[in-house]
Amino acid sequence: MIINTTQTQIPDFRQTPNVDKVGVEERCARFQTRSLKGDTKIDGLKRVLSMIDLTTLEGKDTPGKVRQLCYKAQHLHDAYPDLPTVAAICVYPTMVAEAKKALGSSGIRVASVATGFSSGQAPLDVKLMDTRFTVENGADEIDMVISRGRFLSGDYQFVFDEIAAIKAACGTARLKVILETGELGSLDQVRRASDIAMYAGADFIKTSTGKIQPAATMQVTYTMLCAIKDFYRKTGIRVGMKPAGGISSAKLALHNLVMVKETLGVEWLTNDWFRFGASSLANDVLMQLVKQQSGNYQSADYFSID
């Protein structure tokens, strides 16, 4: 489901809306005071599970490790009936073929970090080759990184064109654009980078690679949600959001759902439009779900760690 394309009517990115950090912090604090318990909590936790991009992005990844991850994706916790599966698994390009094979017809998508992940310090040709290789290997989704150096030096045209070029190389794969907000320095810049990515054709905007701290803080995610909202009002095109890195507790994930619901509405509360990039979140969510059912917290050893 590709909806966004590279836009032809683009605003002046030096004029992107300002963001007031103190105001954002206050708003984010309010999202954390909603009452989420009982059925609301169970429903929310299951939504979180279904939105996870189960991720392994390590230099030491092997086909064997990826196969295990794919099995976990399909069998999150078999002791708990009727659990949803995660949305996707997220791996390096060289692991895409293996993941595709392991997931078969499960419906779980394969996402991959092309374009010289995680620094993005590679020539455009190399990034395009990386992207094409990944798409040809069967990736359903491409998670690209923007050139932060060029962005910070004010060369927004370069960043835009690069995203547009990768978008063209993606074909039918959905494009997630990673802003690496931990390197951008301010919420104003996060907003600017979000706008550039969306106008250049991003289907998702994503906070971080997971390699840089801070990653997906609520303040950053909220700023990006506001950008998505404005883009939708202006163009009628829906763009998805993926906070990644730093969301390891079910509670924080639920607060993110509140934020999405109150900012963009319930249409965004599906894995078509919202994802969590995380490796350890799933088990905490499972632990909370089992606790809701049994009344007791289980030891972490009752949940598989793949």
Partner: protein, 486 residues
């Protein structure tokens, strides 16, 4: 192009009402005079109502002139025999003690405040009660440092202060009044509003528990005539009043020609000004907080919105989006953003203004919020197509009703913002620092917030220009209203 955001439904929050099981309200509350709870001499009582469901919470003593006389006499006796003689450090000790007991009972106070006023528990728990405690803590600190507050001057208390407070922030207003008066060595007769006397009576119990010398603080409940008797009492040295401008004027007339000192904190119709370079999403949050905080029952509420024409459509659209995600309902539910209107009378007043706004030709937009079946609830309301000459843009509505006007230039908005008999507060939303400083000197308002609204702190003075009153409460300035300098 479908561009609406469905922020309701789909994944609904769990109702989470605070339990009231541990709240033990007495069947009736007596007057707190001379350190003891005494029945009113005429033996009259009135009901106090929970505005969220119109049920009677308990009965409250109705003080008449004789009771006022007793209370003032008790305060005078305490002033001459005890309070003016003890060391400032001792005074501070008592004030600290009150603050600490209030903190211990914060949860109970918050629930009772929400029951009696209709304000959401989120606000009473996170703002009203902690802030009230902080005012006591803050002024306790000043008690033995008055020489530093007024260097090279001799500082003396005034004597007995009569204090009359409103129904919008009952406990907080009691703190604003009592804390500086005690710190400076005065004794007090406090009269809470007739619709919201409960937390003041709990405060009386706390004061008793703190073993404050008898008569230093007296709390008498009643209606307008009780307040009038207090204002007119010959043995009062100072009147401090927070409430409507109409009553403020009556009080000023009543004390004219007497030696009574007076501070008035009255109404407002404060301007909230949004420039095109503002951080729009955060400005929208600030506008919402500025007018819908405490159901708009805030004297400094940002009830007149001025938006620069170039961003007006965007701001109004975002306001409408945001209204959809506000929850109006049970004040005790922690999800509730907007609670109940304080009383039936106020509910009717607000409805009259809404009807008047429609009559004047303004365009109304009400938030698409579900309202409970009983109780006094009003949807958050916006009026566009409003002019300076519209009555709804001139008079204080004291409810969740915002008038929206546009402007083109800075001079125009300054002129329009100042074109009001009131001058309590203003908000300025812009990313440009120099513009903030320019406006803060040009706007005739006691408090000016930049890129925020409705922020209160004990260290910061608060008070108005023009018909919003005179005298300052809070901060160092707040001491000035309770001392004689020589």
């Amino acid at each position: 192009m479908a561009t609406d955001f469905d922020v309701n439904g789909g994944w609904n929050y769990a109702p989470s009402p605070e339990s009231t099981k541990h709240i033990q309200l007495k069947p009736r509350y007596e007057l707190f005079i001379g350190g003891a709870f005494v029945p009113p001499t005429a033996n009259r009582y009135f009901d106090t109502i929970n505005p969220a469901d119109e049920s009677v919470l308990t009965q409250i003593a109705y003080a008449d002139e004789t009771d006022v006389d007793l209370a003032v006499a008790a305060a005078r006796k305490a002033y001459t025999t005890v309070w003016s003689g003890i060391s400032p450090k001792e005074r501070a000790k008592y004030i600290y003690r009150i603050a600490r007991i209030m903190q211990e009972k914060a949860r109970e106070l918050a629930i009772v405040e929400s029951l009696d006023t209709g304000k959401p528990i989120r606000e009473s728990r996170d703002i009203d009660i902690p802030l009230a405690c902080n005012y006591f803590f803050y002024y306790a600190g000043w008690a033995d440092k008055l020489a530093y507050a007024f260097p090279n001057r001799t500082v003396a208390p005034l004597g007995v202060a009569g204090q009359i407070i409103p129904w919008n922030f009952p406990l907080l207003m009691a703190a604003w009044k009592i804390a500086p008066a005690l710190a400076t060595g005065n004794t007090v007769v406090l009269k809470p509003a007739e619709t919201t006397p409960l937390t003041a009576m709990l405060l009386a119990e706390i004061i008793q528990e703190a073993q404050l010398p008898a008569g230093v603080v007296n709390i008498i409940t009643g209606h307008g005539d009780t307040g009038a008797a207090l204002v007119n009492h010959p043995d009062i040295n100072k009147i401090a009043f927070t409430g409507s401008t109409a009553v403020g004027k009556l009080i000023q007339q009543a004390v004219a020609g007497t030696s009574k000192k007076l501070t008035l904190e009255l109404g407002g119709k404060s301007a909230n000004i949004v420039f095109e370079d503002a951080a729009i999403d955060q400005a929208v949050e600030g506008i919402i907080n500025g007018i819908f905080f405490n159901q708009g029952h805030v004297c400094c509420a940002g009830s007149r919105l001025f938006v620069q024409e170039s961003v007006a459509d965007e701001v109004i659209q975002k306001m409408k989006d945001r209204l959809a995600s506000l929850y109006v309902g049970n004040p005790l539910d922690k999800n509730t953003d907007i609670g109940a209107i304080n009383s039936k009378a106020q509910y009717e007043t607000i409805q009259q203004y809404i009807a008047l706004g429609k009559q004047e030709g303004a365009t109304i937009y009400e938030g698409p919020c579900d309202l409970p079946a009983s109780g006094y609830f009003i949807r958050p309301t916006l009026f566009t197509d409003v002019a300076q000459s519209s009555v709804i843009a001139q008079e204080e509505i004291f409810g969740p009703v915002l008038t929206i006007q546009t402007f083109r230039t800075i001079d125009e908005v300054i002129q329009k913002a100042n074109n009001s008999p009131y001058g309590l507060a203003a908000g300025v939303w812009t990313e440009k620092g120099s513009r903030i400083f320019n406006l803060s000197t040009q706007l005739k308002a006691g408090v000016i917030w930049a890129n925020t609204y409705n922020k209160f702190d004990p260290t910061s003075p608060f008070g108005g220009f023009k018909e919003s009153g005179f005298g300052r409460e809070g901060g160092l300035h707040g001491l000035r209203g309770y001392v004689e300098l020589s």
